[in-house]
Assembly symmetry: C2
Homo-oligomer: 189 residues x 2
């Protein structure tokens, strides 16, 4: 049993996901997860503060998103900067090889109130990170907030479409399309 392993967070997440799907979140302990991953409970807690967090990679997604918004071309509008960030996520995080895992993870979260709570909080963190990155580009605070909320909605729509097993499009492409639809809909409110 390896006590140190650079892949430990991924192995723990994968083991947790399997166990949550098999027997439910409530009926799975941190020790169960560590054992299934071939690791120890203390390794688990070196990587995650609690059982919920094993399916959430800390602030990685929020940090990546904010960095990509900051790196968007200077002339980009707020939603163009966001589209650039979602395409970066599609290239680096929500890659085709991650789709099956992501879809299974999503199903487990949707079925588990404790995980939906954590997911909701993570969503607020990502929105806050987008707002901060946009205001850093000189976007006024309220416009940044609106752009971040529209982006979060487009993200959710794209995520759902990406998880659809009959779809072959990549996350970045789906996100750009959803952003266009969301922007058009905002003019009809």
């Amino acid at each position: 049993m390896a006590r140190w392993d650079p892949d430990a967070p991924e192995r723990l997440a994968s083991a947790a996901l399997d166990l949550f799907a098999e027997r439910g979140y409530e009926n799975t302990t941190v020790i169960d997860i560590a054992q299934r991953a071939g690791l120890t409970k203390s390794t688990f807690f070196r990587h995650f503060p609690d059982k919920r967090e094993v399916l959430f990679g800390g602030d990685t997604v929020a940090t990546l998103t904010a960095a990509a918004i900051t790196a968007a071309p200077p002339e980009a509008t707020p939603l163009e900067a966001v589209a650039h960030a979602l395409e970066t996520l599609g290239a680096q995080t929500f890659t085709p090889t991650r789709r099956e895992f992501s879809a299974k993870r999503w199903t487990v979260i949707a079925a588990t109130p404790e995980l939906r709570e954590r997911e909701a909080l993570k969503g607020l963190g990502i929105t806050a990170a987008m707002i901060k990155a946009l205001t850093g580009r000189g976007v006024p605070a309220l416009t940044a907030s609106v752009a971040a909320e529209l982006a979060a909605l487009a993200w959710k729509i794209a995520y759902e479409r990406w998880h659809d097993p009959t779809s072959t499009a990549g996350f970045g492409e789906l996100a750009r399309q959803a952003l266009t639809e969301v922007q058009a809909a905002s003019a009809l409110c």
Copy 2:
């Protein structure tokens, strides 16, 4: 010690808020809350499923909001229907006499990750209720989603302004103003 009391939920919420502010959420038990309210632990659990929920009134706000959207004049646009709902909330729930309690509650939630998680989940529930009520008015699904997200943002802005002790405006008035600002900002994204 009254075992049955029609005001029990409010008394428990008020006791919980005082205790959370005094000694922190983590250091307060359900028994502490019940005792402070002059009630029993079993009365607490008749009204709330867990400690977090004592500061959240179940689905009351979501239900009220949805009903008010449904009751808005038939010719109202999606955001006008939402404005109607936020004004109804200002008249029935976020009334001037509730402002001080609400501001204190908000401060405690902001300082407590467990409560912020529950708040985030409640926010999703309210947004979902708004979407359902808007589609019930014949608004297309995506437009309803965008309107609900813009409404949630305006709600948050109005809520913050309403809690400002130097402000004298009512919640409904602040919400209508915030909605106008949010709608204008959405055209600049």
